[in-house]
């Protein structure tokens, strides 16, 4: 089992979800996050005083998947998140030792 984590532009979330739905992905965890990569931030101005907003608003997606489909999941996310402009984000994969569904106690693949 793998955990796919993606940091993407908020506007791409809908397209990513639609793509993952087609793959049969049954769930995801989404959070509003802030951070910076090469995009750095933007500057706002209040009565002439500049303010640097260094941490850019992004969306973080976490998806647990079977190892067999992880490449498809990553490809789908990348394809839907890409605008070709700076700040499109990153996707990474980590191995998962075990998963438990809280309600039933099912483990691992049954819990996905």
């Amino acid at each position: 089992m793998k955990l796919v984590t993606a940091i993407v532009k908020p506007a791409t979330l809908d397209a990513i979800r639609t793509g993952l739905d087609r793959l049969g992905v049954l769930g995801m965890t989404v959070g509003e996050v802030r951070g910076y990569g090469r995009q750095k931030g933007h500057t706002e101005v209040y009565r002439g005083a500049g303010v640097s907003v260094d941490y850019v608003a992004k969306v973080r997606i976490d998806v647990l998947t079977e190892t067999s489909v992880v490449d498809d999941v990553v490809a789908t996310i990348v394809e839907n998140a890409r605008s070709g402009r700076i700040g499109d984000g990153k996707v990474w994969v980590t191995s998962v030792d075990s998963v438990v569904r809280v309600r039933t106690g099912e483990r691992d693949s049954d819990a996905l």
């Binding site: 532009k9 908020p10 506007a11 809908d14 802030r34 931030g41 933007h42 500057t43 706002e44 101005v45 209040y46 009565r47 002439g48 005083a49 500049g50 303010v51 640097s52 907003v53 260094d54 941490y55 850019v56 608003a57 605008s83 402009r85």
Partner: protein
């Protein structure tokens, strides 16, 4: 000069002025949080641009002596309001400038109304450019058609709808609402849909703000409608009462449609119904009885509640339903005079239900369709012109991030304080600012939030 009438018109001018900030809140609450400042700024921008143009040419083009066929007032007759401040200068029995100021507020809010159709995606500079052009080419002439009555005594000739056609538009159902609604449709078509519309939900970010705006609009509208009597008299009182009950009944009708269609009566529906009722009673305020006003409100509230769905059917992105509320509501109010017109009211004409026949309805329809057609065609041409000369839309990435950030370099709300990390040194425009380190000596305004943040 009548001091009572003057006091009422001056007060009404102030009431109508408050409608535009009210509209800014009404529209601002309806957009997403990343666009609220831009939405407000479009209304504020109209107050600046149109207010100045009104003094320069607007009053003269609307209320100057006709240059021919009732189409336009002489633009130079009162250029800069030349001489109108003399104590002898009267409009009826009030000082001319009281009337000028009162009518200025109408011009301002009519332009601001259009902005609801172009939320989230229009650049601020081109909006101001369009606003000024539109006021000159569309609003001022149409205000002349509808509001400029001929004065036999002084030999001043007015506009064709008011005099030749004789259509009734008490406070601007055609000149303000049909006019702005048709322009909104044209501008929205030229600008194109928002990214993600209609698939993505675009939820109003602050409904209490929408209600605050609707409340300010309703309050100001008493000046808009009852002030249009230009006198503190029985006509003004009837119009005030009609403005109360038509609005209440439109709100209830809108809610009833929602309850039947969507299972719930909503706050946004109440606020929208309020505006639909205000729009419809605007032309009809002096020509229907209070019972007639309730009928006008019921029809307008129900029809506008249904009309806001048209944009999904025809796939045009009139973001905040300027067409569905103002164009449709303006048409409803203008045409219903032909049915509910009551000869015992100040306007003194009988509609179909009061034995007046179909003639009045026909006259009302001609006035409404003429304004609609002129406004739509000219607005389309002006929008294409502005698009060709300076462009209209923000780039896609700016639309995603939000027009507040891209157009105004501000954010409406402090969502994540930790994200604002440093005071930036200004080097020209905000877009090219280079951030300095946190240890940089502050040269900024000590009142600014940035300064406060840096002291912690």
């Amino acid at each position: 000069m009548d001091s009572g009438n003057t006091a009422w018109v001056l007060t009404s001018a102030a009431l109508v002025m408050l409608m535009t900030p009210g509209l800014a809140f009404f529209y601002g609450g309806m957009v997403r949080s990343k666009s609220v400042l831009n939405m407000i700024m479009m209304s504020l921008g109209s107050m600046g641009v149109v207010g100045i143009l009104w003094v320069l040419f607007g009053y003269s083009m609307a209320f100057g002596d006709d240059v021919g066929l009732g189409l336009l007032g002489d633009p130079l007759e009162y250029f800069g309001l030349n001489g109108l401040w003399s104590p002898d200068s009267l409009s009826g029995d009030i000082p001319t400038l009281a009337f000028v100021g009162f009518q200025a507020m109408f011009a301002i809010i009519t332009v601001a109304l259009i902005s609801g159709a172009v939320a989230d995606r229009i650049r601020f500079g081109p909006w101001l450019f369009f606003a000024g052009l539109w006021a000159l080419v569309v609003y001022f002439p149409v205000a002349h058609w509808v509001f400029a009555f001929s004065d036999e005594e002084s030999g001043v000739v007015g506009g064709w709808i008011a005099n030749t056609l004789g259509a009734i538009d008490f406070a601007g159902g055609t000149a303000v609402h049909i006019n702005a609604g048709a322009a909104a449709l044209a501008l929205a078509l030229v600008l194109g849909r928002r990214r993600g519309w209609p698939q993505e939900p675009m939820r109003p970010h602050n409904l209490p703000m929408v209600v605050l705006g609707a409340a300010l609009l309703w309050f100001g509208w008493f000046g808009f409608n009852a002030g249009s009597a230009l006198a503190a008299d029985g006509a003004a009182a009837l119009v005030l009462v009609n403005t109360l009950v038509a609005t209440g009944s439109a709100m209830l009708a809108w809610l009833l449609v929602e309850r039947i269609r969507d299972k719930h009566a909503t706050t946004l529906g109440a606020a929208s119904g309020i505006v639909a009722g205000l729009v419809a009673i605007t032309p009809a305020g002096s020509s229907v009885s209070p019972l007639g006003a309730i009928a006008v409100g019921l029809v307008s509230g129900a029809l506008c509640a249904l009309a806001v769905g048209l944009k999904y059917r025809f796939r045009y992105d009139d973001s905040l339903d300027v067409v569905g509320v103002h164009l449709v509501g303006g048409l409803v109010g203008t045409l219903l005079i032909g049915f509910f017109g009551d000869g015992s009211t100040p306007a003194g004409v009988d509609g179909l239900f009061f034995g007046g026949g179909l003639e009045l309805l026909g006259v009302q329809a001609v006035g409404a369709i003429a304004v609609l057609a002129y406004s739509f065609v000219l607005s389309l041409l002006l929008a294409l012109l502005v698009k060709a000369v300076v462009g209209l839309r923000v780039p896609p990435e700016a639309e995603d991030a939000g027009v507040d950030e891209s157009e105004h370099a501000e954010g409406a709300y402090e969502f994540a304080g930790f994200a604002v990390s440093r005071v930036a040194r200004q080097s020209g425009s905000a877009g090219t600012t280079t951030a300095s380190t946190a240890t940089t000596a502050l040269t900024a305004n000590p009142d600014s939030p940035a300064y406060e943040g840096s002291k912690q």
